[in-house]
Every structure is written in C-alpha cells, then in structure tokens.
C-alpha cells in the first residue's frame, strides 16, 4: 500500500526555517493569513511600531542617546548645557517615552490576544471536521464488519 506522501521532517523544518524570520512570508495556516496578510491599516501600523520599539536597534540607539545626553550635560563636553545634573529634562523625555511604550505594549498584547482567540475558534472548527472524518471511517468499518459477519454466517451454514 502506498504510504501517505508525508513531507519528511527534514523538508518540513526547511520550510519552517524559511518562514521563521519573515513575518511577510507566504503563510499556509488560515489564521496566520488572516492575522498578517489580512491586517487592517491600523493593525499593520501597530505591528510595525511594536516591532520597531521592541528591537535591539531601538534599545541600542536609546542607550547611546542617553549616555550622550548625560555626558554632554554633566562633563560639559559642549559649551551649551541645556539640562544640568540631575537631568530633569531627560527625566521628562524618558517619562514621555514610557508613557507611550505602555499603551503600545498593550496594543501588541491585544493584537496577540485577538489572534489567540481566533486560533481557538479555528481549532474548534477543525475539531468538528476531524470528528466528521472519524465518524465516516467508523461507519465504513462497521459496514465492513457486518459484511465479514455475513460471510462467517454463510461459511458456518455451508459447513453445518
């Protein structure tokens, strides 16, 4: 009997590896399709903002900026000091960033929660489909057993 042509785990991993780092990959799963490829304008911006803010690039740039600010104003590297120690303006700037980072974290979290919700809905649909298939198999096996039993009866009648 022919084996189902399962993608070998090697080929599967290769496919997944390609999709791993690229959020715009051609998705196979309907939920990924709906979530990424069918995202609205606002959702796309939310994804992009959280991707930008949650990156090493941002963290490194912010650290450099912070150190530069403190260095210039503390050691007097330039003639003009706009925010002397203890850096009250820097405090305000960073508070401002944190004030926006909070809602953006929640934006990303909400979007993730939404995906989680539709994933479960999709799984429920899939489970129904699976159940239906199993029922079909069961009915078919029952038919088969009935026939085998009738054969047995025939044979028993013959030998009796």
């Amino acid at each position: 009997m022919a084996q189902p042509d399962a993608p070998t785990s090697h080929a599967l991993i290769h496919t997944l590896r390609q999709k791993h780092r690229d959020p715009n990959a051609n998705h196979k799963h309907p939920i990924n399709k709906a979530h990424y490829e069918g995202a609205s304008r606002g959702e796309r911006i939310a994804d992009q903002v959280s991707a930008a803010l949650g990156s090493w690039r941002f963290i490194i740039i912010q650290s450099t900026f912070l150190l530069a600010w403190a260095a210039v104003n503390y050691f007097g590297l330039l003639v003009y000091h706009w925010d002397p120690y203890p850096f009250i303006l820097l405090n305000l700037v960073l508070s401002f960033q944190a004030t926006y980072a909070g809602p953006i974290v929640l934006l990303a979290g909400n979007r993730h929660a939404q995906k989680d919700r539709i994933t479960l809905e999709h799984m429920a649909d899939e489970a129904d489909k699976g159940e239906e298939q199993i029922n079909r198999i069961l009915i078919e096996i029952k038919k088969n057993t009935d026939l085998t039993l009738r054969i047995l009866q025939e044979l028993e009648a013959e030998t009796a």
């Binding site: 785990s9 979530h35 990303a108 979290g109 993730h112 989680d116 078919e140």
Partner: protein
C-alpha cells in the same frame, strides 16, 4: 527517564535539546540577539530582579534620608532616584515588546507547523478511508462469491 521527568527538565532548562521542530528552530537555533533578548526578559521578569530592585531602592532612600549617614548624593525628593526609575521604565517597555515580538514569532511559526502537519494528517485520514472502502468492496465480492457458490450447489443436490 519517564515522560513526566523529561517534561520537568525541559520546563526548567530552556537550553534543553528540543524535540518539537518549532522549539528546535525557535530556541536551539536562536541568534545571539534573540538569546540575549530571552535572557534579559527572563532576568527582568523574575523574583530575583524584583527583590534586588526593592533592596537597592530601600538602601538609596535610607542613605539619603537618615541623619546618621554622612555621604548623601540625592536628597529628598530623590530626583536622581526618579531618573533611575524612569530609565528602568524606558528600557523595560522595549524589552517587554522585544520578548512579546519573539513570542508572536513563535506563535506564527507554531501555526505554520500545525498547518503543515494537519495537511499530512488529513491526507492520511482520507487514505485510510479509501483503503477501508476498498476492503469493504473486496469483502462484498467475497460474500457474493459465496452466495453464488451456495446457489449453484443447492438446486442440484442440497447437502442433507
């Protein structure tokens, strides 16, 4: 090792050699930046961090407010401490998003894996169904054959 013990080990050690392809791609093949991101998120989101931070704050406030200590660097209302808090918050947001983005990436990858596996499973189920149907047809033919044999035997000379 029992399955339970294996799971307990896997739960505590992120660096464990993983079995599931998504874990393999996501953890075992993580880049340096991703590894550091995971460690940082794990570090900040731990009781250790919370406890150490609380102790540092208590020391800072104590040293700067009680008469007994002579060297004071940040008098009431602790403007420098405020700046420290802000800096921490300004970095926590991005790290939170970094970790969240990484989880979203894993989620996306997991769904892709599910889709690949589900496709194989569905093919296999359909093949099982086809195979059983073939079996039923064969059994039906056997039954018909038996009936024909009985019919051709009984009129000429039924076995007494």
């Amino acid at each position: 090792m029992s399955s339970d013990a294996q799971l307990t080990t896997a739960r505590r050690t992120v660096a464990a050699k993983h079995k599931h392809p998504v874990n393999q791609l996501f953890h075992d093949e993580a880049t340096l930046g991703e590894r550091v991101a995971d460690r940082t998120a794990a570090g900040i989101g731990s009781w250790w961090f919370l406890i150490i931070q609380s102790i540092l704050i208590a020391i800072w406030v104590t040293l700067n407010s009680i008469e007994f200590f002579t060297h004071k660097w940040d008098l009431y209302p602790f403007i420098l401490l405020n700046l420290m808090f802000t800096i921490q918050a300004a970095f926590t947001g991005p790290v939170l998003l970094l970790s969240g983005n990484r989880q979203a990436q894993k989620d996306r990858l997991r769904l892709e894996h599910t889709a690949e596996v589900a496709e194989t499973a569905e093919k296999a189920t359909l093949q099982i169904l086809e195979e059983i149907e073939r079996n039923t047809e064969a059994t039906l033919k056997v039954l018909e054959h038996l009936k024909k044999r009985r019919d051709s035997k009984s009129p000429s000379g039924a076995p007494s």
